[in-house]
Amino acid sequence: MSTTPHSTAGVAAPLPHGGHGAAAQGSHGDQGHGHNPDLAHHFDTPVQQFDAGKLGIWTFLVTEVLFFSGLFCAYSIWRSLHPEAFMYAHHYLDTKLGATNTVVLLFSSLTAAWSVRCAQLNQKRGLVVCLALTLMCAFGFLGIKFVEYSHKLHDGIGWGESYQPHNPKLFTTLTPSGHYKGGKYVSEIAAERGLAVAGVPYADLDVPGKLAIANELRTEFLPEPPTVRTFFSIYYGMTGLHGVHVVGGILVYIWLLVRALRGRFHSGYFGPVDYAALYWHLVDLVWIYLFPMLYLIH
């Protein structure tokens, strides 16, 4: 950890002005003689530069972990103080979609890790392929998220103020272990009973109308725990923040792909590929926890 690369320029020997002297030391062979274009002037050797970048990105990941920790904290407190809200609300979350997204992210992690290997081994085509695959997975993930979000928002299940469920699931029984059972969407019930307002059937009603019917029906079923709204705040907060990170990852990978196509990376210079992969793996790590925490409540 505290070992420092030796400036072969040596003690008290004058450096050529402009400061690429030490750089020359680090990079025989690779680029031929002297000046190494991939080495920033203030580093002595590519190894030093790479290690610095690596420690830098790891430190950045540390800040990311603590950034997310706030939401994990809110989650665990609400989960332990208001389990009922979670028991009720998880019925809205689609485990299948969640699981699919998990697999997508895991695969993208594989390709990301592979892209590093390719860069290290000068496999330029492999690198491009891996980066491209990673990107595609990222888009896929967002696509699935979009489907999930739009379904909820369509039923008025937003966060904060926009939590106005006009097509909520209603439950008939509560098991001793606190599980809500016999869930049915208002839309279904309305369809079965052919409910309507002023002759307009539920399906064709505007939002206020649907809300009216929903509130109407609520009285017959189990009451909704008051902090459900907070659950969805937390759900959107966590998945949303994670989504923002995915978007960030996409930007980074587009940039990498461009440079890879230009053949900028090679066994002597692949830092950015490695760092981006590390970041992407962290995004994956976070999701590895979010999935059971949000989608697998039972």
Binding site: T95, Q120, E224, P292
Partner: protein, 126 residues
């Protein structure tokens, strides 16, 4: 690592002068393991073990996290310090979450006694 010579030649046979190269076997192997574990978590949900479920799920998640960190993120071969740095983040995040959880549970009664008298209006009915 001290000053190393980089020969593009090194790259040819699965080896790089600057950093360790993960073998395809390891990468794919880890990926498969991750898939299996994901399957297990989803499966575990359908056996109701009450409070135990969440801990099982978290346990499996942690194993998966470890796999990713050790192999995909190279921690297994990396400078130990990078690992230490990462662990530090988890330790402090843990401190943060656990202390707040402890306090929240401690003062819960004051909140509940108040809620008993003036309950929250269920959010959706507004």
């Amino acid at each position: 690592m001290s000053n190393t010579h980089l020969h593009a030649g090194d790259a040819a046979h699965g080896h790089n002068a600057i950093a360790h190269v993960a073998s395809i076997k390891v990468l794919v192997g880890v990926f498969v393991l991750l898939l299996i574990l994901t399957g297990v978590t989803v499966g575990a949900v359908f056996v109701d073990l009450g409070a135990l479920n969440i801990w099982i799920a978290m346990g499996i998640a942690t194993v998966k996290a470890l796999l990713v960190a050790m192999f995909f993120m190279h921690l297994a071969y990396d400078r130990p310090f990078n690992g230490i740095v990462f662990i530090a983040s988890l330790v402090f995040a843990g401190l943060f979450v656990s202390v707040l959880l402890l306090d929240a549970r401690e003062y819960k009664p004051n909140v509940d006694s108040y809620r008993a008298l003036s309950p929250l209006v269920p959010s959706s009915s507004n």
